[in-house]
């Protein structure tokens, strides 16, 4: 049996950094306060490899890109995801494009970390799930784990990857605990989703905080005689199409839940995937339960009103399953009822 240790997400991230820095002397960590907050890494690996930076995301990211192309493997901590806006030029225009535009002469093995999500009442300039923006940018990989073991395994995989990887931490998960394998060679491959619970009636897909939301909804659905399969995407790019499609072909129903807004988001991508590659298996319209097209408010009430909740997932799935069963019993086309269900789309997060 693999030896495990119970730890928080924060500790799992730290352990991954420590192990990879020990394993590979080209790995370095840079960020505003990175050295202050992780004195033990400075002690073990030296000030050259663990650096406090000036408060200047554009040059932190730019430096990481230049260094990555030149033999180092930088990890940069950009703190809250919205601060990445300053780093976007280096990440999107340089790291994402210059491998291709140089005809493959350079590669950019770097990891850019940022925190997203609700829970701290900090408002929209700190709380913004902007992961899909980076999914849209060619040349970048994007991961967003939900449990401590995956934080460790995916961060290690990201550091070893020869592509630029955006590593998002949902801040609501930071102090959540779980069992984490001790093994230094423990890796979670980028691009591989995890089936957290098996079921044959509906596929619930989430990532980060909404995996737990889906799990809670799934156990409530059990009481209603509905077996939900729950998929934790873990990687947003590349997407594990096979795992999602395999499940949808089995259940015929797909519900995607994320805190990021719905427009051009991950759920839209999965809906397109299902419609394109599993159309004949679908027994009901694909549902998206997402955050609204609005900045995050600070006030606790408004912040939470924007976040998809298990009750909303439960209600939406009950409605969806009842509707499609009614249709199937009546032999009707599944299209006619779509309008009545469409109100769940986008706004389900608000209903809770």
């Amino acid at each position: 049996m693999t030896k495990m240790t119970r730890m928080t997400v924060e500790q799992a991230i730290h352990q991954a950094l420590r192990e990879e820095m020990r394993r590979d002397s080209s790995v370095l960590l840079m960020g505003e306060g990175s050295a202050t907050k992780q004195r033990d890494l400075v002690a073990d690996f030296g000030a050259e490899r663990v650096r406090n930076t000036p408060l200047a995301e554009a040059i932190v990211a730019g430096t990481a890109v230049g260094a990555a192309a030149s033999g180092l493997r930088p990890v940069i901590d950009l703190l809250f995801a919205p601060f990445m806006a300053y780093a976007m030029d280096a990440l999107v225009n340089s790291a994402g494009k210059l491998r291709y535009l140089s005809g493959g002469q350079f590669q950019f093995p770097l990891v850019a970390m940022g925190m997203t999500g609700s829970g701290w009442c900090v408002g929209g300039q700190h709380n913004h799930n902007l992961e899909a923006m980076f999914v849209h940018a060619p040349g970048l990989k994007v991961v967003m784990p939900s449990e401590p073991a995956d934080f460790k395994g995916l961060l290690k995989a990201a550091i070893r990857d020869d592509n630029p990887v955006l590593f998002f931490t949902d801040l609501g998960l930071l102090y959540q605990e779980g069992e984490v394998p001790d093994a230094e060679d423990f890796i979670v491959p980028i691009g591989k989703a995890a089936v957290r619970r098996a079921g044959g009636d509906v596929t619930l897909v989430g990532y980060a905080k909404t995996v737990a939301v889906c799990m809670q909804a799934a156990s409530q659905l059990e009481a209603h005689g509905i077996a939900a399969e729950v998929i934790d995407l873990r990687s947003l790019k590349p997407l594990d199409e096979d795992t999602v499609l395999g499940s949808v072909r089995k259940t015929g129903r797909l519900v995607v839940v994320h805190e990021a807004s719905g427009l051009c988001g991950i759920a839209a991508e999965l809906a397109a995937l299902a419609a394109t590659k599993a159309f004949s298996a679908l027994r009901a319209p694909v549902l998206r339960l997402t955050g609204p097209d609005a900045p995050a408010a600070s006030s606790w009430v408004l912040e939470q009103a924007a976040v998809p909740k298990p009750e909303a997932v439960l209600e939406a799935v009950l409605d969806l399953v009842a509707g499609s069963r009614r249709d199937e019993a009546a032999g009707k086309s599944r299209a006619h009822d779509q309008d009545s269900r469409a109100h769940h789309d986008q706004l389900a997060g608000l209903a809770a």
Partner: protein
């Protein structure tokens, strides 16, 4: 009482009010309210500069804005309601503490993105200069930012534009020595901020940011220059962030000797001593002032806690025009 003394007295009272307000926020955080970035130790910067502005002027500020707002006349009760996320807050609870703006006071745009304030201020000044909106002739803009913001490239972009376009903009750098958990000497040469500003070719003044009278005098000179020439000016205020970056923060990374030295130069204490030395106030007078601001804050707290939460059905209000 001569006008000069009345002003000095008023500065002390405003600084006390800011301090009492932020101490109340610290208490609230301990009982579960969202954490805030306090400006304890920097009150003289806010009070001295804001007093040098007049009603037609605009203020652009950042995450550490309580002093600027209160000095400008913001009601502690509405600020507190905002921090608690209630409907009676200046932004209806949407902002919380980090991005409070109050158009009615001329505190027009507040960004908690470090450098965000610097990116927007030239545009506000351009609108003032062009007489747009409800701006009045001669109005200027004061932008407050920290030493950390001076590390962002946007700092230079804003300075260059303001100089080239001759915008009526007062840059106010509150150099409180800290950039979150990193001391500024780890990220920049000691005299860098003023030197960088000078390099852009605008008048630069560096003063003791804990001496409220000195801050006011320097700000008044800079404002007069801007009104006379239409072009920008720069003020570096040397001060100290006495508390953590935000609440809670154990300040384990802070050199206690440095902190102690600055506590000896606390701006409120310095102003209290100055007024005492001039015979303008005594211990009883000071105690009475402190009591008065404490009462104001207690009333504000009652108001804020009684204020309603926004209802979820208002979530999508104000996203688009």
């Amino acid at each position: 009482m001569p006008e000069e003394n009345r002003a000095a007295f008023h500065r002390l009272e405003t600084m006390l009010l800011i301090r009492a307000y932020e101490h109340q926020l610290v208490e609230l955080q301990r009982t579960g309210a969202p954490g805030t970035c306090t400006s304890v130790g920097q009150e003289a910067c806010a009070v001295g500069v804001v007093e040098a502005l007049d009603a037609r002027d605009r203020i652009v500020t950042n995450h550490r804005s309580a002093g600027h707002l209160i000095a400008r006349g913001a009601e502690p009760r509405r600020l507190m309601a905002e921090v608690l996320g209630r409907v009676d807050g200046y932004c209806g609870g949407r902002s919380g503490s980090l991005h409070i703006s109050a158009k009615e006071l001329g505190v027009v745009l507040t960004s908690t993105i470090v450098g965000g304030e610097l990116s927007m201020a030239p545009g506000v000044a351009l609108a003032q200069k062009m007489g747009a909106g409800n701006s009045e002739p001669g109005g200027i803009v004061a932008v407050f930012f920290g030493d950390g913001a001076a590390c962002e490239g946007i700092f230079h972009e804003a300075l260059n534009l303001a100089v080239q376009w001759q915008l009526p903009l007062l840059f106010v750098c509150e150099n409180n020595q800290w950039q979150a958990f990193v001391h500024r000497l780890e990220t920049m040469p000691d005299k860098a901020i003023s030197a960088w500003a000078r390099g852009h070719g605008l008048p630069v003044d560096s003063v003791d940011g804990n001496d409220v009278d000195a801050v006011h005098a320097a700000a008044a000179r800079a404002v007069a220059h801007i009104r006379a020439t239409g072009g920008p000016a720069f003020l570096e205020l040397s001060t100290y962030r006495q508390r953590g970056h935000y609440e809670p923060d154990d300040q384990a990374y802070v050199d206690s000797a440095e902190l102690q030295a600055w506590l000896q130069r606390d701006p409120i204490r310095m102003q209290g001593e100055r007024l005492t030395a001039k015979g303008l106030i005594d211990a009883a007078g000071l105690a009475a002032l402190e009591l008065r601001v404490r009462e104001t804050i207690a009333t504000a707290l009652d108001f804020a806690q009684a204020s309603a939460w926004p209802t979820p059905d208002t979530l999508l209000e104000h996203v688009y025009a």
